[in-house]
């Protein structure tokens, strides 16, 4: 169970991380991370550049697996299942844990084919069903009204903010439980950023969202829980309001008041 926010009910744990160490070859990047990520809440990870927050995020869907020499110790369970156990299925893990990247990365295909990509590789070939999934995902990502008349146009013709929402729609199309977002708005203008933040607000009760951000106002605005990373360690984790008003650790306070980082 995760500490309740202001007397709200306790939240069930979606992701449990225990004593996680992570290495890039000989270099250790994460040290003994232990935390519980609550279900259907927004958890923000903040901290200065290079503090390990993105690395940590990428351990949750095993995207670090593709990096040569990457090694992990400790345990991560999602719904009680150890995602690093021998013989665990990376494909179904990544189906369950969607990811949105810092740099929007739509495929150089049509809007439709972008969103339909996930369902297609998971074996859905029926056109009517794909159309339904594509529409539903684009509606959820708040992009449907803008692109409904140009589904067959190249996704690369969309604006930066639209591309990022398309990437969110693409991730939603495979019905994940968890959505990882790695600085999803850092390359966007303020208006597009606000739209992404609104979107996170709309998705928050349906998905477990973990968002990495270097923007503390953003963390304060969108998240229910916040974790502060520094030099590969999780310094403090708790309800966002508490982290921003009464942090327990001096380092956290220094960081959020802008004294370093």
């Amino acid at each position: 169970m995760v500490e309740p926010i202001n007397g709200e009910n306790r939240h069930e744990v979606k992701v449990r991380v225990e004593n996680l160490d992570f290495y890039y070859g000989p270099v250790q990047a994460l040290f003994g991370i232990t935390l519980d990520i609550p279900a259907r809440q927004v958890t923000a990870l903040i901290g200065p550049s290079g503090c390990g927050k993105s690395t940590f995020l990428r351990t949750l869907n095993r995207m670090n697996d593709i990096i040569a020499g990457a090694r992990i110790e400790g345990k991560i369970t999602i719904d009680g299942m150890d995602i690093y156990r021998d013989g665990s299925d990376v494909v179904s893990l990544r189906k369950m844990v969607g990811m949105v990247f810092q740099k929007s990365n739509p495929f150089p295909k049509s809007v439709f084919d972008n969103v339909a990509y996930g369902p297609r590789i998971h074996g859905i070939g029926d056109r009517a069903r794909l159309e339904e999934i594509v529409e539903r995902s684009l509606v959820r990502a708040g992009l449907w009204e803008e692109v409904r008349d140009r589904l067959d146009q190249s996704a690369l013709a969309l604006s930066g903010g639209q591309q990022q929402r398309l990437c969110i729609a693409r991730a939603l199309a495979v019905d994940p439980h968890i959505l990882l977002m790695d600085e999803p708005a850092s390359a966007l203008d303020p208006r597009s950023t606000a739209r992404i933040e609104d979107l996170i607000g709309e998705l928050r009760r349906e998905y477990t969202i973990v968002i990495v951000t270097h923007n503390m106002q953003q963390a304060a605005r969108v998240s229910d829980y916040t974790g502060f990373f520094y030099e590969g360690r999780l310094v403090e984790f708790g309800p966002t309001q508490q982290i921003f008003t009464t942090p327990r650790e001096k380092q956290t306070e220094d960081y959020i008041t802008g004294r370093f980082g």
Binding site: M63, I66, R94, M99, F101, K103, F107, P108, L156, C167
Partner: protein, 283 residues
Amino acid sequence: MKAGFSEHAIYWLMRAISYSIIGVIAYIVFDIVVNGLPAIRWSFLADFPRRSGAEGGIFPAIVGTLYLVIGAIIVALPLGMGSALYLTEYAQQGRFTRAVRLAIITLAGVPSVVYGLFGLGLFVIFFGFGASIIAGSLTLACMILPTIIVSSEEALRAVPQELREASLALGATRWQAIYTNVLPYAVPGMLTGSILGIGRAAGETAPILLTVAAFYLPNLPKSLFDQVMALPYHLYILATQHPEAEKVRSMQYGTALVLLVLVLGINLAAIMLRSRFRKKYRW
């Protein structure tokens, strides 16, 4: 002032060097076209040679070269693209891949006559294919493999890593990610580099000299285990071994022109392919 002068001098020196390179190529092409064009007649392209190549045409040599090139493509393209795929997409980058890459670069620098000797030893003698199309094609294939691998690797690496990550993050298997989001954008580049290598293979003499080529055959080949005539070898014999080498100059130039057009045609196809696909995919 002085700095300005030397800057100027270096600029013109570099420029002169560049122009002289073009000059050399222009002269070679000009010489071959001027001397070869008179020999080009329908009968030259469509007939068998007569009187040891002093008269008649070079039809069997054209056919032979095409067979050899096609055979080399069939063998080398899948092998080369496959190794490039393995090296860039699957293999753990480390000591092993470094060793493989070093071997490939070394292989690219091995003189063609050494490939010929290798082909003679392995395919002609050890495998017992004899001097044959299959031995010649396999030898040429070995020779162009490094070019195909290196250019295919470059084309694969040019595909942004984000596309792979995006597919993998959606639960694609590695092969699904490669098949749907890497290969479509890399294949044109892979093909382009490969075709340039194939163009080189078409003009090689030494490897086929030792493994397949015959100077004169009365018939076109009937099986993979037959010898063939080939343009570079035909040219070599006409120019150096023919008893009347001086008198058959126009036949030599005609053969050289046909070979040149063939190789340039292959290269042109590569360039057109590349520019077509460049327009299609941008990111």
